[in-house]
């Protein structure tokens, strides 16, 4: 009998392709006659294009066309056509080349198409644009007073009980605090790019960097008024996305527009600088009030967030609702408001809302622990939420206490001297901090296909995405285990609109939802195999029920009687068919799931060393204990979590898109000056996966890991810095100047 592949640390099945350069990314496709686009970006943040002079650029060698709002072909007229699957509920999506109006700095204002990339880039520098400058509003902190309630919120805010001011009385311990973080931009290794192949019948094959090929396809079809059948979008490999591929970016629009106009293959890639021109984690200001009785029980929580959005759309995320979920508290008051600025609409970035909302909550809990003079972990255990309080329902599973216990033990938390500035290593101050992480375990509908071939190979496919997350690998493992085949006989396919329907990949829901759909498809294939096996006149399977059939080593067995077996390929042979397929559409069992709250949890423990003379912070140890249901692959799961922890460290100490309000422009728009952690900033990190069984969350019992690694991590770093230095820095990132 072969080993069960699920739960084994299988290396990425696409790894060899990636490290040998065989895996092709969107900008790496080449077609005969292909031309290249280079985007000209606005130098101003607000105003109007008075005049575009393309004469000099058109004369440059190799230039074929220059597009702008002046000569853009007729496109869809309604805003609705521009609303992709991840568009905010309210607002008007940005339309490239729609008018002469400038709405944000680095807005694409022209597209130069030339025979080579270098020619296009050079000609782009010759395009002269005269602007009529208007006064821009980009200063988030100065405009906190101009906030409004989002017209439609993806995550309606939840409050319960009484207001904090009414509940917190004189004998209670009260904390009023506020936190601020500014903008962060997505900077996956691969910049956004689109290559379009134009076919003679007017149909298109589009290689796009996206987290959802169907989203790109539908958007392009709507905007260019084409039949969906005429556009095939592929995205088999994505060099990181983290949310940046949830909405079609403007280079996809540009490449398709040019390909349709020129009837030629076109490639358009953004520059690193242009990666700072679109969606980002929104700057958010948060105020919290916590009230606790002297015995450290939370009596009231108030959590108010004001986030930035664009003038175009009301982008919303769940910043404040975590405060009503994470701890036992009868009185929770939340509010969430938006300040529109002259910048591009924010966009989901790894753990959107959670990374930031939980940061403020978990720093505030640390502050409260010091006010109460108790251990920060103890405070969390005292206020542990056994049930989900909005609706008073149980959690489908919640092993957070085990996360606390195992994480604390591994870290050595019990040896912590709670006194700030009490722990030292040579000349450095040592700080230990901790925080809780939480993320929702979503389950979404997915279609999946499985196909068994006469050579014993199984293909498993769905139009989902693997943007470095390991989807190919867990699809392979799941199908291999369920069909009883070696992983080497299974091929996973994804990232193609010709495959079975799948939603956008994000929010940590892909692993659980896709593997549940694969399970449904495999169940269907097994039933078909059994049915065919019964057809032979002397079949030993005649009376067998599906649940009595077992699949292993390429055979179907009778449970409990492994002598009675048939090779799967023999079933196909006797049927004289080369392939046998099954399709499934897996839907969440809403009736069952609604009776439970479904969340992933973690506990993060961090050690920092601070050079007090210089203010420099080094994270020297991290332990993260995660409860995320079944772990399909501990190796790729570990990679997901350490990646999230690195993000958290970067969020705490480094990442910061600097807006210069003189110009309404992000000025550190390159990877030399927009700092992310380097290897030397990152210590060894311990990741613990706590056992957690969950029958509710989805048929596979998998909760997803994409976001949870980052949630709470920055708070644990900030709390460790407080413990080391006695300084509570409430603005991220915590740079050395704030600790001098």
């Amino acid at each position: 009998m072969q080993d069960n592949p699920i739960g084994k640390p299988l290396s990425r099945v696409d790894g060899p392709l990636k490290v040998t350069g065989e895996a092709k990314y969107a900008a790496e496709y080449h077609f005969p006659g292909m031309v290249y686009g280079y985007i000209v970006s606005s130098k101003i943040a607000k105003g109007k294009i008075q005049f575009i002079d393309t004469a000099k650029a058109m004369e440059a060698e190799g230039v074929i066309a220059i597009y702008s709002h002046e000569n853009v072909p007729k496109l869809a007229r309604l805003d609705l056509s521009y609303k992709d699957h991840d568009a905010p509920l309210s607002g008007k999506p940005f339309r490239p080349f729609y008018t002469d109006k400038i709405l944000f700095s680095q807005q694409p204002v022209a597209l130069v198409i030339a025979e080579t990339f270098e020619q296009a880039r050079y000609a782009a520098s010759l395009v002269q644009i005269r602007y009529l400058v208007a006064k821009h509003t980009t200063n988030f902190e100065e405009n906190l007073g101009n906030s409004h309630k989002p017209s439609l919120n993806r995550f309606p805010i939840k409050s319960r009980g009484k207001k904090a001011d009414k509940i917190i009385s004189e004998g209670d311990v009260r904390l009023d605090t506020e936190y601020l973080h500014m903008y962060e931009h997505h900077n996956p290794m691969e910049m956004h790019a689109t290559t379009v192949q134009y076919h003679d019948d007017g149909s298109l094959t589009v290689y796009d960097k996206t987290q959802g090929v169907l989203n790109s396809r539908n958007y392009l079809a709507d905007v260019f008024k084409l039949s969906k059948k005429k556009i095939r979008v592929l995205s088999p490999f994505v060099g990181g996305a983290f949310g940046s591929g949830l909405r079609p970016q403007y280079q996809a629009f540009m490449a398709v527009m040019a390909a349709l106009q020129l009837k030629r293959p076109v490639k358009v890639s953004l520059t690193r600088q242009q990666m700072f021109s679109f969606g980002h984690r929104p700057a958010t200001h948060q105020r919290l009030t916590l009230g606790a009785s002297p015995n450290a029980q939370l009596k009231a929580i108030k959590h108010v967030a004001i986030a930035e959005t664009s003038q175009l759309e009301d982008y919303t995320e769940n910043v404040v609702n975590w405060s009503g979920t994470l701890y036992q508290c009868n009185n929770v008051e939340t509010n969430y408001r938006l300040v529109p600025l002259d910048i591009y609409t924010p966009l989901d970035m790894r753990a959107p809302g959670g990374a930031t909302g939980v940061h403020a909550l978990e720093c505030a809990m640390d502050e409260l622990a010091y006010k109460l003079n108790i251990d920060p972990l103890e405070l969390r255990l005292i206020n542990y939420a056994e049930r989900f309080q909005d609706g008073d329902i149980p959690f489908s599973s919640k092993e957070l206490k085990e996360c606390y216990r195992q994480g604390a033990e591994k870290f050595g938390w019990s040896r912590r001297n709670p006194e700030p500035r009490s722990m030292k290593d040579d000349n450095q101050l040592v700080g230990w901090g901790m925080a809780t992480g939480i993320w929702e375990a979503f389950h979404v509908p997915v279609r999946a296909h499985v196909k068994l071939s006469i050579d014993g190979k199984l293909s498993v496919s769905t139009a989902t995405s693997d943007f470095g997350t390991g989807t190919y690998t867990i699809m392979t493992q799941t199908a291999a285990q369920l069909m009883g085949l070696p992983v080497t006989d299974v091929e996973a396919k994804l990232g193609d609109t010709n495959l079975a329907w799948a939603p956008l990949s994000g929010g940590s829901f892909t692993a659980g939802s896709v593997t549940s759909a694969i399970k449904a498809a495999c169940d269907g294939l097994k039933k078909k195999l059994l049915k065919l096996a019964k057809k032979a006149s002397n079949s030993p399977f005649k009376k067998l029920k599906p649940e009595q059939a077992e699949f292993n080593d390429g055979y179907m067995y009778v449970t409990g009687n492994p002598e009675i077996r048939i090779k799967l390929t023999d079933i196909l042979q006797s049927e004289k068919t080369n392939t046998l397929e099954a399709k499934a559409f897996s839907l969440p069992n809403v009736l069952k799931q609604r009776k439970y709250a479904r969340y992933t949890h973690s506990a993060v423990f961090v050690e920092v060393k601070v050079d007090e003379d210089l203010g420099t912070v080094h994270v020297s140890r991290v332990v993260s204990a995660v409860a995320a249901g079944k772990i399909l692959n501990p190796k790729t799961a570990h990679s997901q979590i350490i990646g999230g922890l690195v993000w958290g460290i970067g969020m705490a100490l480094h990442e910061d898109s600097v807006m210069d309000n003189q110009f309404g422009r992000f000025v550190n728009h390159n990877l030399a000056e927009y700092h992310i952690p380097v290897n030397a900033d990152i210590p060894e990190m311990d990741v613990i996966f706590v056992n957690e069984h969950d029958d509710i969350v989805n048929p596979m019992g998998v909760k997803g890991l994409g976001e949870i690694g980052v949630v709470g991590t920055a708070a644990a770093v900030a709390n460790a810095i407080f413990h080391a230095t006695g300084k509570r820095v409430k603005k991220l990132p915590i740079t050395l100047d704030t600790l001098l």
Partner: protein, 327 residues
């Protein structure tokens, strides 16, 4: 990036004649900075002369007992050269505190001296910058100036010189040998880079067409008591917010000679000889170092976001001297 022509110079005469064909030509060696700037349209040469074949490839002894570093020797080969490691460890440490192994393998010593500021406003052609476009204004003055200078600034420019290597060279008192169409000359290191004044577009005192051929290190390299301290926003691959190169020569319990040079704080590596002289002959101790630091920072001026550099530099000087003493 604009269109340009390219040739490889086989000898020095070749290099000069190919440069003279255009007013907008440039030499290229490692290209680690120039190519970046060309891609961003900050530098727009119409001709590049590749000088990698010119005979500035050696590290060797000078008659005065000092060491000569060829302009085309890479930063990596310089940092790991046995004589440099032994006699001028300050140089090795400073080089290895900068960039990344890949860049140091490519970047040359001459190019390191001539690298340009990493000021955001210099790099973004959508923004004003007097260094890139004289007369357009200084975006940093009222803008985000966290990484900018606190010494020797002008109303026209508050950019810093980004090199680590140069800070150590300034501390040691190196000399730069150059050659040009009108002959060879030697420039004291302190006179090589300029302050911005009203011509921030000029980083150095090289004449048009002149080429760095080598850098001479003096005989004594402060190899016994030295320290290069670089303070930055992450542990590697970031430019210095403040860096300090310090060397001490201790004789009979007193400071016989001392060098203190600062990086990340001015348009050139910053040295204050008054402070060095004050320390000479005194007992090396923290209070003396603090006095010297106070003296050095006396004329510092912040622009808002970079005010912290004043206190940071003070502490860094004291720490560096203390660690140099105990090294």
């Amino acid at each position: 990036m604009n269109r340009f022509t390219f040739n490889k110079a086989g000898n020095i005469a070749d290099a000069f004649s190919s440069q003279q064909q255009s007013d907008f030509s440039k030499f290229i060696a490692g290209g680690t900075n120039l190519l970046d700037l060309m891609k961003e349209n900050v530098e727009r040469p119409d001709h590049l002369t590749d000088i990698n074949a010119l005979p500035f490839q050696e590290i060797g002894m000078n008659e005065d007992g000092g060491l000569r570093l060829g302009a085309l020797v890479t930063n990596a080969d310089t940092a790991y050269h046995p004589e440099v490691e032994k006699r001028y460890p300050l140089i090795s440490h400073a080089i290895l505190a900068g960039a990344s192994p890949q860049l140091r393998n490519k970047a040359t010593n001459g190019g390191n001296l001539l690298q340009r500021t990493r000021c955001y406003y210099f790099y973004d052609t959508a923004l004003p910058c007097n260094k890139r476009k004289p007369g357009s204004g200084c975006g940093a003055l009222q803008g985000f100036n966290r990484i900018h200078a606190i010494f020797g600034t002008s109303d026209h420019c508050i950019a810093t010189h980004p090199s680590d290597f140069c800070v150590a060279l300034a501390a040691l008192g190196a000399r730069v040998n150059v050659t040009g169409p009108s002959g060879e000359r030697t420039i004291e290191f302190e006179d090589f880079h300029r302050l911005p004044e009203d011509t921030p577009e000029k980083d150095t005192n090289l004449h048009p067409g002149e080429l760095v051929t080598s850098i001479d290190l003096p005989e004594y390299g402060f190899h016994e008591n030295y320290k290069y301290l670089k303070i930055r926003d992450r542990a590697s691959y970031a430019f210095a917010l403040v860096s300090v190169a310090a060397g001490l020569k201790i004789n009979d319990g007193k400071i016989e000679d001392v060098r203190i040079a600062l990086g990340g704080v001015a348009h050139k590596p910053w040295r204050n000889k008054e402070a060095e002289n004050m320390l000479k002959g005194t007992t090396p101790e923290k209070s003396a170092f603090e006095q010297a630091a106070d003296l050095i920072l006396k004329d510092a001026r912040g622009f808002g976001h970079n005010d912290f550099k004043i206190i940071l530099a003070k502490r860094a000087i004291v720490k560096t001297l203390s660690e140099a003493l105990n090294s």
